[in-house]
Symmetry: C2
Subunit: 107 residues, 2 copies
DNA sequence: ACGACGGTTCGAGAGCTGTCGAACATCGGA
DNA sequence: TCCGATGTTCGACAGCTCTCGAACCGTCGT
């Protein structure tokens, strides 16, 4: 079985759930990477936390309808559910991805 | 003194902070109301929680740079810092306000 | 001056969140 | 077949979050 994990339908996902999922720096990092890369194995995000913690973050993202997982052998590739996300929350992902880090202009 | 409360500069606010502030239904409600009304006294949001809890939510919104407070006599009016917010996080507020509640189409 | 009204602040409690180490499961290569 | 690599799951724990009641502070009428 290559399929296994089940995902929520985006229609059933509340905005607050997505907002919460994106309110953590580690998870936001994952989303930013996936926005530019389409796909990446779980182990290659350099989140600076243990595997257990990383796995927890992947779960939060998955259950918020933000990511999908493709299992290929021992590797689990993460993908963004971009089209579905854009359809459910138009403009949200773009706004999030466009956001600059704080304190860019110290003045 | 009519002024008193101090607000963060939007440039110093992290996206994660804003996302967290908007990940609560009560706070999201406040934001939605203020988006259509420009200004409203703290007591008139019908959040379904006690004054103490409501005040807590107002504080979270204020500290995330999302709202401003105008004190007029005994009444504290809340306002959205819309222009600043749009400048700091283009498109974010619009996307949040446009989001439909979940499960609209049961099918 | 007094009391009602509008809000904030202060503790406190229940529950959720992020984090970890350890144990487990699977796949792939030697 | 056995072992290393990749991830998940399971407690456990510290810290944060939401919630409340009670106390407090200003303002406005009376």
């Amino acid at each position: 079985m290559t399929e296994g994990t089940e995902y929520p339908r985006l229609e059933d996902v509340e905005l607050t759930t997505v907002m919460h999922a994106l309110s953590d720096p580690a998870r936001l990092h994952v989303v930013r990477v996936l926005a530019e890369e389409e796909e990446r194995p779980c182990g290659n995000f350099a989140l600076g936390v243990t595997k257990a913690t990383a796995s927890h973050h992947y779960k939060v993202l998955r259950e918020a309808g933000i990511t999908r997982k493709r299992v290929e052998g021992a590797r689990h590739y993460l993908q963004l559910r971009r089209e579905e996300l854009d359809a459910r929350f138009p403009g949200l992902l773009d706004a999030v991805l466009a956001a600059e880090p704080a304190g860019v202009v110290p003045r």
